[in-house]
Amino acid sequence: MEVLKIATAGSVDDGKSTLIGRLLYDTKSLTTDKLEAIEKTSKQKGYDYLDFSLATDGLVAEREQGITIDVAHIYFSTANKSYIIADTPGHVEYTRNMVTGASTSQAAIILIDARKGVIEQTNRHFFINNLLRVKEVVVAINKMDLVAFSEEKYNAIKTDFEQLMSKRDYQGQKITFIPVSALKGDNVVNVSENTPWYKGQTLLEHLEGLDMAAVSNVGTPRFPVQYVVRPKTDDFHDFRGFAGKVYGGELSVGDEVVALPSQTRSKIKDIYFYDKKYETAARRSSVTITLEDEINVSRGDMLVKADDLPTIEKQFTATISWMDSQQLTTGSKYIVQHGVNKVLAKVASIHHKINPDYSGIDTGATVLGMNDIAQVSFKLNKPIFYDAFKDHRTNGSFILIDTQTNSTVGAGFIQ
């Protein structure tokens, strides 16, 4: 079964939870007991419609305040695909949650309230999904019922959004516009009779049609070693297997590989998935690899093809999304977790900060606060083996861990 992960982005009251609830309802994914709970609560609140947002708002505080606080995951499936939606909220920790949701998604839905059009926050939603290189973006122009399903209104918003697109960094992103009413169900799953002027697909039709191979980020194969399997049993006395996940491409038996950081060469002897041998390890498969030669490889090391080495450096510059209430300052030290590898890092300099309204950059910034996005240079205590984020979404990203609190305080995308 194919799994498509989707991040959602929208401002408060754009109807994000309602859209997700509508998708669940129209695909008959809401179970009777959940539907009954929604009907009951909607009635208690005095609504004359079903409040689908109740299907996703999970925590007590959220139900009390009618807002979404944290990233929630929602699951539904059709005969064709399994869907995982990361529902990310639109307020205080907005950037943190959106970056997190987008990092694991191949597609994103950006919601726009048809009455309000493109607003400052739309800018942010688009910028972040573009920064994270999410391949497929759907711009759902919602609440069309409140603008009398006006084609002019829809086209005006589309034109405004295309203005933003002209400034984007990642041009390979595919963007699709769909006029919807999440509350009434127009063009979400079912074709609307209210928008005869719209000839495109409904939201679900569009998602169903996405080719998973095309929405995946493909690069060169990288194999970070997670764990060394040494059974030391009679049957597998000398077995030394390197367990990990293959990112970016495939690896095959016989491939000439280099182990980093030692730069020792060897060849792939066997590829195991559980107790079965395979000729080729597919992209994103969790396999165990043995090598022809006995070389020293441990957790955090990386196997790569001999003719395709990553950059091996003790410093890099990256775009940082800062996620902690405590500020990032020049000179401070953090742990960089790059895949499964950890090194100590020092902030060498903050080059510039993106203005909160994304209108430009601020080159005078000396500290970063929660939700800031900035370009920062780091020095490391040991070299890491990385690719630029634009070439390799996995091997070009890292997280920052606070050495005191152990919290994940930021995410970075290497240039």
């Binding site: 997670q226 597919a282 969790s286 499964v340």
Partner: protein, 299 residues
């Protein structure tokens, strides 16, 4: 033609998580209830470390009110795979006066497990407890992380969770803290059942349709048993039922079913319009029941 039987993204994700646990923690443990989710975890762990053995023990927090079929199954599985099993009993926590047995019509030992679990974590100094919870089960669980940090009191602070980006799992903790790990977070009930069918994993017989003495209350089908309080006017019936979820006898209700093999069970789940935890009496106590239990250190 390339062999692609190793590309199930959910399976690959779970195996990756197991390996991160083994590498990042000193003393992990797999919380094993004998239910289908924890049985699935055992298979995934086998796959993650083969040909080596699973490098951590299993632990069962036994309420003493389990279905006998589950316990029998547990002991057989552990023996066949040569695994280490730790059992800690809720009865002991009751005898030590640490928790008080609930009384009355809806009494259950389910929530008492938390104290026994926290004591066991302290006793063995476990720093990572692997569990079979899934985000699709319940609204509070939909917000749970894959690596979920608990403080010295085992509490979940849902407002202060670490963001999880890409595949990267941050397992750094202080002494005394522990992490709850959920390798099948992103699986749905149907995914688990399909996997059990595909892998031909053996599960306890109570998951399949069988004749059982039951009684009806509040729209639930309760097991007739010494462990379950029953009013005199609640009539005992014999019906074909099966269980979709297996916890304590006192908090798990059955569904009427004729599905006697794995294929019919998968089909039944596919067609079902009632959610899995709809059969959990403990969740019906209030709308926020699960969130409250989780804050106190429940699985």
């Amino acid at each position: 033609m390339k062999d692609t039987s190793h590309i199930n993204p959910l399976e690959n994700e779970a195996i990756y998580i197991f390996r991160e646990v083994a590498a990042q923690f000193e003393k992990p443990v797999l919380l094993f209830s004998g239910g289908k989710d924890s049985i699935t975890l055992v298979r995934l762990a086998q796959k993650a470390f083969w040909p080596a053995k699973i490098p951590f023990p299993l632990m069962h927090i036994d309420t003493g009110h389990n279905f006998p079929e589950t316990i029998e199954f547990r002991d057989r599985l552990v023996k066949e795979l040569g695994l280490e099993l730790i059992v800690r009993n809720v009865q002991d926590s009751i005898d030590q006066g640490k928790v008080k047995e609930e009384s009355g019509k809806y009494s259950s030992r389910n929530s008492l497990q938390t104290t026994t679990l926290l004591d066991a974590i302290e006793e063995f100094k476990f720093d990572a407890c692997i569990g079979g919870a899934r985000r699709d089960e319940e609204k509070a669980r939909a917000k749970e992380r894959i690596f979920s940090v608990r403080d010295d009191f085992g509490q979940w602070d849902e407002r202060n969770q670490r963001p999880e980006l890409f595949d990267m799992l941050n397992g750094q903790i202080e002494l005394g803290q522990n992490v709850r790990v959920f390798p099948i977070s992103n699986w749905t009930e149907l995914d688990v059942w399909s996997y059990i069918a595909q892998e031909e994993i053996e599960i306890p017989s109570i998951y399949f349709a069988h004749k059982r003495k039951v009684f009806l209350r509040d729209g639930f089908i309760w097991s007739h048993s010494d462990y379950v309080f029953q009013e005199e006017d609640e009539e005992v019936l014999e019906r074909m039922v099966r269980f979709r979820t297996v916890g304590d006898m006192s908090c798990t209700s059955a569904v009427f079913s004729e599905a006697a093999d794995i294929e019919s069970v998968v089909q039944e789940i596919r067609d079902s319009t009632i959610s899995e935890r709809g059969a959990r009496i403990d969740d019906k106590r209030s709308e926020a029941a699960m969130e409250k239990r989780k804050q106190q250190g429940y699985f």
